[in-house]
Symmetry: C2
Subunit: 224 residues, 2 copies
């Protein structure tokens, strides 16, 4: 099989791993699976697995994510490719890492296939991770933070419809500081990325809020 393509040298294995983020309980959280088999049995790890020979890289990331956690249809972007010689005890394994963002209303992952358990963890309370997944998670977090202020990536954490206060709360969690309400609304509306849906949302003993939605839900734009 190895020499089927005319290049007969030993080949590394290729995997994809995905750092899945969401906002939950006022915290940025990361989705981990507990490994069912060796190596690193019972350790927590990023969802991911081996690339099928006839499978696109991104398709592999999506498939493993769906198989291991039940999550699909979320924003997914390639992060970096990790290939240190000893990152996997099974031998030479190259991992093409992705990161994904899940809206806060679709976060009921279910353990499946080769994962013993699936759980969200706050980023400042991660358990020890398998392989170099700590490094991957850290890079993903940095990339996310960087993209916050020159793209509309934060919108990918929002459900289909949301209020401006909900959006502001997401931003405040992500950058970890309070924002001025008027400046925030001015800036967001100036982006022309969201539109009022026409309804009001009443959630308690106070004035109801306008409901908004993304004009292009799939799209992440570069701003600035």
């Amino acid at each position: 099989m190895c020499s089927q393509h005319g290049y007969q040298y030993p080949r590394p294995a290729v995997t994809t791993d995905v750092a899945v983020f969401t906002i939950r309980g006022q915290r940025l959280q990361l989705l981990l699976i507990q490994r069912a088999g060796e190596p690193y049995q019972n350790r927590w790890a990023l969802p991911g697995g081996f690339l099928d020979i006839n499978e696109d890289l991104e398709a592999c990331a999506k498939r493993e994510l769906a198989e291991e956690t039940g999550i699909s249809g979320v924003y997914l972007e390639q992060l970096y490719t990790f290939g240190s010689l000893n990152r996997d005890p099974r031998g030479r394994v190259i991992s093409v890492a992705y990161y994904a963002l899940v809206p806060s209303d679709r976060l009921q992952p279910k353990a499946a296939s080769d994962a013993a358990d699936v759980q969200w963890f706050a980023l400042d309370q991660l358990p020890p991770l398998a392989f170099d997944h700590q490094q991957i998670a850290a890079l993903a977090q940095r990339r996310l933070a960087a993209k916050l202020d020159y793209s509309t990536i934060a919108f990918q954490f929002m459900p289909k419809t949301f209020t401006l206060s909900e959006l502001q709360a997401v931003y405040e969690i992500l950058i970890n500081e309070r924002l001025d309400k008027r400046n925030f609304r001015k800036k967001i509306l100036a982006l022309k990325e969201i539109e009022a849906v026409g309804e009001l949302r009443r959630t308690g003993n106070h004035r109801p809020a306008r409901v908004y939605q993304l004009k292009n839900p799939e799209r992440v734009d570069i701003i600035k």
Copy 2:
């Protein structure tokens, strides 16, 4: 050989390819090699090649670059990993793409090993490229353009010592517009990334220019 690591499914081959940029003749240019063998014999392509099983990804990029073009010791950064099913007629090949920047005084590439020829091409006059290398080059160029205004990456095009006018000329070529001399100098010096070397450079019938150098030549900082 395939099952030496316990994972016995067919594996893709892994390569690295490098988009090498320099500034030459008032133009941003890309380094290409002419392929000596099949597939795409005689076509122009990015330097690159197969990953050795005991070789780090970045080491592979550096090695192929040195072998095929004689270039070494330049700024190198991972760009993106390409893995479309049919990007290589030899079969399933994943390419981890890098990009590199070469100072304008070290740009005498020499064809070696499996390259028939090596040449610089202006980016708006590229020949047809092998594989998906056109796509890789285009992405590299976009990444370079993006990094220009939030990092000090442009300094990597400069030789060890340079004048502010030379630096400004590089910026003007990269962003393709004229800059104001006073504002440019103010901004660059405010970065505190370069220091006067103490000498003057006399190049013609006019006042000699102060010579500068990078404080941290290897380093690319994120600014803003």
